[in-house]
């Protein structure tokens, strides 16, 4: 995009303030989220961005948990308000991946162990393809079943005005797309993108004055698994499960599959949506593919997943992507999602993001 990182942040921040009917002076603290500094091409990126995010003269925190940052940013806002220290908090997530040449992908090389992994020519795609292979092997899942997620999400994204890759495609299209890092093929993966998204959080008494349709952040959870990702069985994301239960416990949810109406699950790759659904206890181990193929996760299904079109369809500006999911759940719970609005009456929603070397789970439970 033409906009500089500061300008991108400003646009999202301004839109969030407008939708809340607030001005910057009403905001007491700011939480920002942006993933690797390498993308925007700066050290201490949080400092650079803070004026675009309305942070001058305010307490600022930049939170950072890799790809999980997008859902973690509003969690940061949550603790600013829930601690009683502040009544209003602005949460902004921004990512501009395009400045990095020759390809944003390159920044991911530096997430690997300097001594034991980088010399092998690592790329981020490797850990995903290794995990996908393991997941498929353990539960006997086929590439076609996984491809149905890409078809769903890219199709859903056609109705999202900001979508980068919204399109009506078929499972065959996905199967025939070029293999990048087998079993990952081109249409199984989300694109690098530029983007920013923002939300305004407020304490109960302030929220009730501002709107008669507040959406509450009822549960938050986050977990980080061991650095030694090659020592784990990649078929199941335990870190997502732990983060989910932390959030569910806070929100008083005991049977997630029944009590969650809609879920924005992190989908940088199609198989990840299924993998995470299982971690989130929305499907039994190895059972998410059947739910996808049976249409349960479609917009008119019993548990719509990624009605926005997700990262696969809308785009993947790392930190902003998770925030985009929070925003989508917000709009869905208020009935404002237009053509993407799910059929069922959604009261409880969930947004989840993932990050690092298959390590981070960040989960937020929202209710209207």
């Amino acid at each position: 995009m033409l906009e500089s990182p500061k300008e991108l942040s400003f646009e999202a921040t301004r839109m969030a303030l407008d939708s809340a009917g607030l001005e910057l002076k009403d905001i007491q603290s700011v939480v920002s989220g942006s993933a690797p500094d390498a993308f925007d091409g700066m050290h201490m990126k949080g400092e650079y961005l803070l004026d675009g995010m309305g942070g001058i003269g305010k307490p600022n925190q930049r939170v950072y948990v890799g790809g999980g940052t997008g859902v973690f940013t509003p969690i940061g806002g949550w603790w600013n308000v829930a601690s009683g220290m502040y009544d209003t908090c602005l949460c902004v997530a921004e990512e501009k991946m395009s400045p990095l040449h020759p390809h944003p992908q390159y920044a991911f090389w530096s997430i690997f162990d300097q001594i034991l992994e980088r010399p092998l020519g690592t790329t981020l795609l490797w850990i995903f393809s290794l995990e996908m292979r393991r997941y498929m092997h353990k539960y006997g899942i086929t590439e076609e079943e996984i491809a149905s997620v890409a078809v769903k999400n890219k199709g859903n994204a056609v109705d999202h005005p900001c979508a980068q890759l919204g399109a009506k495609i078929t499972v065959d299209d996905v199967m025939n797309s070029e293999p990048i890092c087998w079993p990952v093929k081109r249409l199984d993966v989300s694109p690098p993108s530029d983007g920013a998204a923002a939300v305004v959080l407020a304490s109960e008494k302030v929220a009730k004055k501002l709107t008669d349709q507040p959406v509450w952040l009822d549960g938050v959870g986050w977990t980080l698994d061991t650095t030694h990702w090659t020592n784990r069985d990649l078929a199941y994301p335990e870190y997502v499960e732990k983060a989910a239960w932390m959030a569910y416990k806070m929100a008083g949810i005991k049977k997630p599959r029944k009590e969650i109406d809609i879920a924005e699950v992190y989908d940088p790759f199609d198989y990840k949506e299924l993998h995470h659904m299982e971690g989130l206890q929305l499907a039994g181990k190895g059972e998410a593919p059947k739910m996808a193929v049976d249409g349960v996760t479609q917009r008119d299904g019993d548990l719509p997943v990624c009605p926005s079109g997700g990262l696969l369809g809308v785009g993947n500006p790392i930190a902003a992507a998770g925030m985009m999911k929070i925003c989508e759940v917000f709009w869905q719970l208020r009935g404002e999602a237009g053509k993407r609005q799910v059929k069922k009456d959604a009261r409880t929603g969930l947004a989840q993001a993932w990050g690092d070397l298959m390590q981070v789970g960040t989960v937020a439970v929202m209710r209207s």
Binding site: L116, L120, W126, C181, W331
Partner: protein
């Protein structure tokens, strides 16, 4: 996006536009240089690789044999206790065939990469490495493999002292 918002800001541009000079840009190269201290555990690991051996650490409390070795057990949160040599054979836990390089450029020859669970370590303790001397379509999860080492004069004390792992199969 909320249905209440009918238009949103932002100017989309393409990399080609930028290359053609339609927009002003500032280009700079950033070259941070690091010399990471490997630390006690990995220094020993690398020294052993130079000798053509793989070494692990044992935690007496949970009795796990850990590779890559570490001076602290992350489950028990205590220092690990002794060095243990393990085998250079293992089982493929998972694998992939990569057609792109580190910078997303297409490769002429795909790189074969796998997580290999090493024999002698606690089951499931894997390391990341490449595969070689194998037809990609024949690789399977569960396949038994052995390390192929560089010659002793070529070894430097690096993870690349192992060239790759190859299937044991037909030996």
């Amino acid at each position: 996006m909320s249905q209440k918002i009918t238009s949103y800001p932002g100017h989309e541009i393409t990399p080609e536009d930028v290359k053609e000079g339609k927009y002003l840009d500032v280009v700079y190269k950033f070259e941070p240089k690091y010399s990471w201290a490997a630390g006690v555990a990995i220094s020993r690991f690398l020294a052993e690789l130079k000798e053509g051996r793989i070494i692990a650490r044992k935690c007496m409390n949970c009795e796990r044999i850990l590779v890559p070795p570490r001076m602290y057990c992350e489950q028990c949160f205590r220092p690990t206790d002794e060095w243990v040599h393990i085998k250079d054979t293992g089982t493929i836990n998972t694998y992939s065939i990569s057609h792109v390089g580190t910078d997303a450029r297409r490769l002429k020859t795909p790189i074969l990469v796998a997580v290999v669970d090493l024999d002698g370590a606690t089951p499931g303790m894997g390391i990341l490495h490449n595969l070689g001397e194998v037809e990609p379509s024949k690789i399977e999860v569960g396949m038994k493999v052995r390390a192929v080492w560089k010659s002793s004069s070529e070894r430097q004390g690096a993870i690349t002292d192992i060239r790759y792992f190859k299937p044991i199969g037909e030996e």
